[in-house]
């Protein structure tokens, strides 16, 4: 039946409540239109301190108005709340920040070092009396993908210099910087990693599939760096805007089941748990902070997204222009989907009593509910997405994996957009896969994950006691 809304053609000049909001907010910005001096004054003071003049207008929920200082502390506050309420970083951690050069990961880097600086100060203040709370360590990883997206040598060298400079200027302590080419996902013995990688990407015909495969490989690469260098957490700069795009893109790709796993604050399905402390920050806010504090951005590696991902980004951008809280709504809605047991930081077994009390306190304080859902049956060896019904769980009882068995173990989305359709190309694709992905399919992943999830489950039970 044709849209029930067709009647609007009959003379509807007012097309959305969004317009109304827009109009009234313009009015607010040009407060003097009303001719009322006082009113105008009131409209431009900072909403938070109510003293300084507001110079920053964020498009966020409620369209806040801040002075520079309050804006900064508000944004850092969101980061800090995410970190503390989800126990993202503990004093004994060594965290690896994934830095892409863009504004989100730049701010993540900045905030993590600010936090490190603060705990250093705390440590110094209490050092004489009590050395029980060490300062967490911070490292930075940059994945070099220029062999897939070539840029000129001058640009590359300049960008690398910039990255080094950014990292070396971070206080308090010198941070380890890992600049690693993405081909390193292949074991160091094979020298032709670069060729194999290009071949692998080339066997994928779907443009969106290529992009997604690359991002899975990027994660693999980050995990590898973290494992090899003794990091205990991986920090990503994914912001609300990025997550909103992921929600829609995953929906469009038919990944409704696994979506909830990707958009939580913490994701411990990886060997090194991944945390998203900027989940509640909008890209607009991060951009404002970067220009406000002159945080240097490295633009050379800016990736343009195509296919479904590109389409979704431009759609979300359009919606956001129409209604500035749209991205928040999308993430909030998807946030109501039931997360998986691994969507929390597993607690270490040392001093389990203390940790336990702390965890209970944290749950009470931030009103967190334990995750009560069951773990998924298995994980896709390519994208590590949880899969509900495993068709071929028995296939892997013997350690022999064939391209067909491998394909059958993948999630339906990867099967469609990444795996080649024809058997011969599938065999090629399979032969170009990094060993770690094959391993994942063969044995380790499910067993390993199950153990990990078991930890989470037991803790949940105990929480309730």
């Amino acid at each position: 039946m044709a849209c029930n809304g067709t009647g609007c053609e009959s003379g509807c000049y007012k097309d959305s409540t969004g317009d109304e909001v827009e109009k009234s907010s313009t009015k607010k910005l040009n407060g003097d239109v009303n001719g009322d001096g006082n009113h105008h004054r009131h409209q431009t003071t900072c909403l938070k301190c109510k003293a300084a003049e507001a110079t920053i207008f964020t498009g966020g929920e409620g369209g806040s108005r801040f002075c520079a200082d309050c804006f900064r502390s508000n944004l850092y506050g969101k980061f800090k709340l995410a970190v503390t309420s989800h126990a993202m970083i503990s004093p004994t951690d060594k965290v690896l920040v994934a830095f892409s050069g863009g504004p989100s990961s730049r701010v993540a880097l900045q905030f993590v070092s600010e936090m490190q600086l603060k705990s250093q100060k705390n440590f110094d203040a209490t050092a004489i009396r009590d050395r029980s709370l060490p300062v967490f360590g911070v490292g930075v990883a940059f994945i070099d993908e220029t062999e897939l997206h070539p840029i000129t040598c001058t640009d590359f060298n300049k960008a690398i210099e910039d990255i080094k400079e950014i990292v070396s200027n971070l206080s308090p302590t010198k941070k380890e910087l890992h600049i690693v080419p993405i081909r390193n996902i292949y074991s160091t013995k094979t020298s032709d990693g670069s060729e194999t990688l290009k071949n692998l990407i080339n066997t994928v015909s779907d443009a969106t599939g290529k992009e997604d495969l690359l991002s899975h490989l990027r994660m693999l690469s980050l995990q590898k760096i973290a494992i090899e260098n003794g990091y205990t957490k991986l920090v990503l700069g994914s912001c609300t805007s990025r997550i909103a795009c992921h929600v829609l893109a995953a929906t469009v790709k038919g990944q409704g089941y696994s979506l909830a796993a990707d958009i939580q604050y913490a994701d411990a399905r990886w060997e090194i748990p991944v945390v998203l402390p900027l989940r509640d920050c909008l890209i607009q806010e991060l951009n404002i902070l970067c220009s406000l504090d002159s945080l240097k951005i490295v633009e050379e590696f800016k990736d343009s997204r195509g296919g479904i991902n590109g389409l979704v980004s431009s759609f979300v951008k359009l919606l956001q222009e129409e209604n500035p809280s749209r991205e928040c709504t999308i993430v909030r809605t998807a946030g109501k989907l039931t997360p998986f047991p691994f969507n929390k930081i597993p607690e270490t077994n040392t001093d389990s009593n203390d940790v336990h009390l702390a965890s209970q306190r944290r749950h009470k304080k931030f009103n967190l509910k334990p995750i009560e859902s069951l773990p998924p049956d298995s994980f896709c060896p390519i994208c590590n997405s949880p899969i509900r019904d495993l068709q071929s769980v028995t296939s892997f009882t013997n350690s022999q994996t064939t391209p067909e068995l491998f394909g059958a173990a993948c999630c339906s989305s990867c099967q469609y957009q990444i795996l080649p359709e024809e058997l011969s190309s599938m065999e090629e694709f399979y032969s170009f896969l990094p060993q770690s992905i094959i391993e994942r399919a063969r044995n380790g992943n499910q067993k390993w994950i199950r153990e990990k999830i078991q930890d989470c489950l037991i803790l949940d039970d105990e929480d309730e006691v």
Binding site: M1, G7, E9, S10, K253, A260, T338
Partner: protein, 322 residues
């Protein structure tokens, strides 16, 4: 782009189902190139199996087909009458059309619906806003101007088919929502933050929740449809994938729809004391058309509404038995 093959090459290619006739279209769902005749067969049989597998109807039921005169509802009327005959569903079918009472607006589509009535031999019932609410849209616009009439049209329209169906005393109402529509609804509910509706908008029978609310501001609908069409162009199966996602979302069964009661005045489903349509009607009938528009909840906030009961009766509001 396979621009190389021109017209001749196409003519030599054959339908991938019957292998006899020239293909006329490419099915987005399967990317098969098939001829017109095979398309009809495949399409109708798919609908038939959906009807059978989901046990949508029982023999002897009275079924109203929501008919707007648009493409989807015309196709639906055709397929329903055809399948009912071919597979002996034993259904009593009616066409149900709503006339908003906008001069010069429905004329064309009502003509189409009347043609459907003759073509498919289905009795047609046109219910007007005047019948249902006591007001035509023209009268409403005269009263409140062009500015807010969308609110009225949207709220009234949402209920009109259901109320019309109740007037006809039918057992079920079928509408021509297609995969695009459902995909759109999934996205829309994500965009609006409506987790409860998200959990059931892919279900084939919307049942007691009432029809999926669909009257959105035109511009918004338009952008969303364009987005879906864009998606479909790069990846035809995206539409079905969105629906799959909608079905697979991990939504706790405890997520409740907002408390669903019935309107004390007309009996239509409503979470408030009065349904939105009755609130708006109340405003119209009392000469306060702004009632129920915007943030204030209008009469639902007041307890002294019964004092105005007499005014309500001054205009009929299409009393219905549900």
């Amino acid at each position: 782009m396979d621009g190389a093959h021109g017209g001749e090459k196409t003519k030599s290619r054959l339908c991938s189902i019957c292998n006899q006739r020239r293909p006329a279209l490419k099915r987005p769902k399967t990317l098969q190139q098939i001829c017109r005749e095979c398309f009809y067969v495949v399409f109708e049989e798919e609908i038939h199996s959906v009807i059978v597998n989901n046990k949508l109807f029982k023999p002897g039921e009275r079924i109203a087909i929501g008919a707007s005169g648009g493409k989807d509802s015309t196709v639906l009327a055709y397929v329903m009458s055809e399948l009912n005959r071919r597979h002996n569903y034993g259904l009593d079918l009616f066409l149900l059309s709503v006339d908003e009472g906008i001069t010069g607006y429905r004329d064309d589509s009502l003509e189409t619906v009347k043609r459907n009535e003759i073509q498919y031999g289905l009795p047609l019932k046109v219910v007007s806003y005047k019948d249902l609410y006591g007001w035509t849209m023209d009268e409403i616009v005269k009263m409140i101007g062009l500015k807010n009439n969308c609110t009225f049209c949207g709220v009234f329209r949402r209920q009109a088919l259901d109320r019309g169906a109740a007037l006809l005393k039918v057992d079920k109402l079928v509408t021509g929502h297609n995969a695009d529509d459902i995909a759109e609804t999934v996205l829309l509910n994500i965009l609006r933050g409506d987790i409860a509706r998200l959990s059931r908008c892919t279900s084939i029978i919307t049942g007691e929740d009432g029809p999926i609310p669909r009257c959105k501001p035109f511009k918004y609908t338009y952008e969303k449809e364009i987005f879906i069409k864009d998606l479909e162009r790069i990846r035809p199966r995206a539409i079905l994938d969105i629906i799959k996602s909608g079905e697979d979302f991990r939504i706790a069964t405890s997520t409740k729809m907002p408390e669903q009661g019935t309107c004390q005045r007309c009996g239509y489903i409503s979470s408030q004391k009065w349904c939105k349509a009755c609130v708006l009607l109340e405003g119209l009938n009392r000469g306060l058309p702004k009632l129920g528009i915007g943030r204030t909840r209008g009469v639902n906030r007041k307890d002294d509404q019964h004092n105005d009961a007499k005014n309500i009766q001054s205009k009929p509001c299409g009393s219905l038995d549900f």
